[in-house]
Symmetry: C2
Subunit: 244 residues, 2 copies
């Protein structure tokens, strides 16, 4: 059992991706933090329709947010990266409206839902940050909806890969132009609203065009500018955001 990381030594907080806050405020988050949890790849962390007693921030590892329709179809809503705050929905709306699953082993900072309100009330700057995080998530979902609604398969794939790689870069997860991508093609298919077969063929097309290739759990981007241009998106990576 490894010792929990103290918040002031948090490796994420050092990154430019996250806005810095005064030491005293880091202490407040540290007090709010109840512990750490380690889960194996494949674990269901939160389930749609349940009311969970804890909220988490991802410290390490990657996962998936998804919703299911009764007949089994599944929509992957977002990819979960370090720094993501998960379980907020259940805190605000009574129950989770989507599920979260670990795609790799993950380490999660655990917060008790029962202490959420006093933390929120007593630390208005952090409350503001939590609202900010909700706005960031809303923004992402708007972009994803636009992709799935308006772009064709090749554009969608280029968009998704560019988004993922830019996020991973901002988190320092990439080595050279190699970016870890611990998902299955079915996951990407479910994220983009494509069939598995067509997802595979679309990936082959990106490879043929020398834009990006994916194998052995890692993406190699050969031409980020080309990807971004193909997807008709702006190049700039993720904007700084708060970390709880």
């Amino acid at each position: 059992m490894p010792t929990p990381t103290p918040c002031h030594a948090c490796p994420l907080r050092r990154l430019d991706l996250f806005v810095t806050i005064p030491d005293g405020e880091v202490d407040a988050i540290q007090d709010f933090k109840a512990g750490e949890m380690h889960v194996e790849a494949g674990t269901q962390i939160l389930m749609e329709g349940t009311r969970n007693p804890q909220i988490y921030t991802v410290l390490r590892g990657m996962g998936l947010r998804y919703k299911t329709i009764e007949d089994g179809r599944r929509q992957v809503i977002n990819f979960v990266f370090p720094g993501d705050f998960i379980g907020l929905q259940s805190t605000m709306m009574g129950e989770m409206k989507h599920s979260i699953e670990a795609s790799t082993a993950m380490t999660l900072c655990v917060f008790e839902r029962g202490e959420f309100w006093s933390f929120f009330r007593d630390h208005p700057e952090r409350a503001f940050d939590i609202t900010w995080l909700a706005a960031v998530q809303e923004h992402f979902l708007g972009e994803a909806l636009t992709s799935v609604g308006q772009r064709n398969a090749l554009e969608r794939m280029a968009w998704a890969i560019a988004k993922i790689v830019l996020r991973a870069q901002a988190l320092g997860l990439t080595a050279g132009n190699r970016c870890p991508l611990p998902y299955k093609q079915q996951d990407i298919a479910d994220a983009l609203g494509l069939s598995l077969v067509h997802t595979n063929k679309t990936l082959a097309k990106l490879r043929d065009r020398q834009l990006a290739s994916w194998s052995n759990g890692a993406i190699q981007v050969h031409d980020m500018e080309g990807l971004v241009k193909l997807a008709k998106m702006d190049l700039h990576g993720p904007e700084p955001r708060p970390l709880i």
Copy 2:
């Protein structure tokens, strides 16, 4: 120029759809409110990429949230109804990430962005409610993404109509089974990721199946249960939510 509605007499606040708050808290919202604004149908209220000095709550009228891609494609992200809080994104993230347009004449309660922080800090219950609203919006976008990504044209249309009508009912906007729908077919097409032509044909199919018919700016739902079943969604209408 009509007199602004005092918040304690707000017709929306009386509805079951909105959670009730103590009178003192209504006063706080009243103090935060800077005035009212009336806009004509067709007005651009907020523009993607801009930084606007005001935040609004919709008092009357309906509109559209949408994003555009450079080449002109447009994704309608949500329909704007009375009680919706708009402009929060620009407050949290510096600029709007989507545009908002009035589809009918609208009345908006105006709040000054410059006073947002002190309101948020001094009224933690309202701050919580604002986060809640962001979570509601996030939830909706997750559902919309699932629809566009996983459902076929007929299911999507059934889903959209059911969603809109259930919302309108909760707001007391419907008369019998008639529900006002002040949008163009192109708007619905852009919301569902369908072409205009196919949207029209899909509406015709719903009419043939005696589920719902749309003409003269109003929807008649003949079989809500059938719509809900076709869309594979749950019947329950919108859950209570806060009103700022």
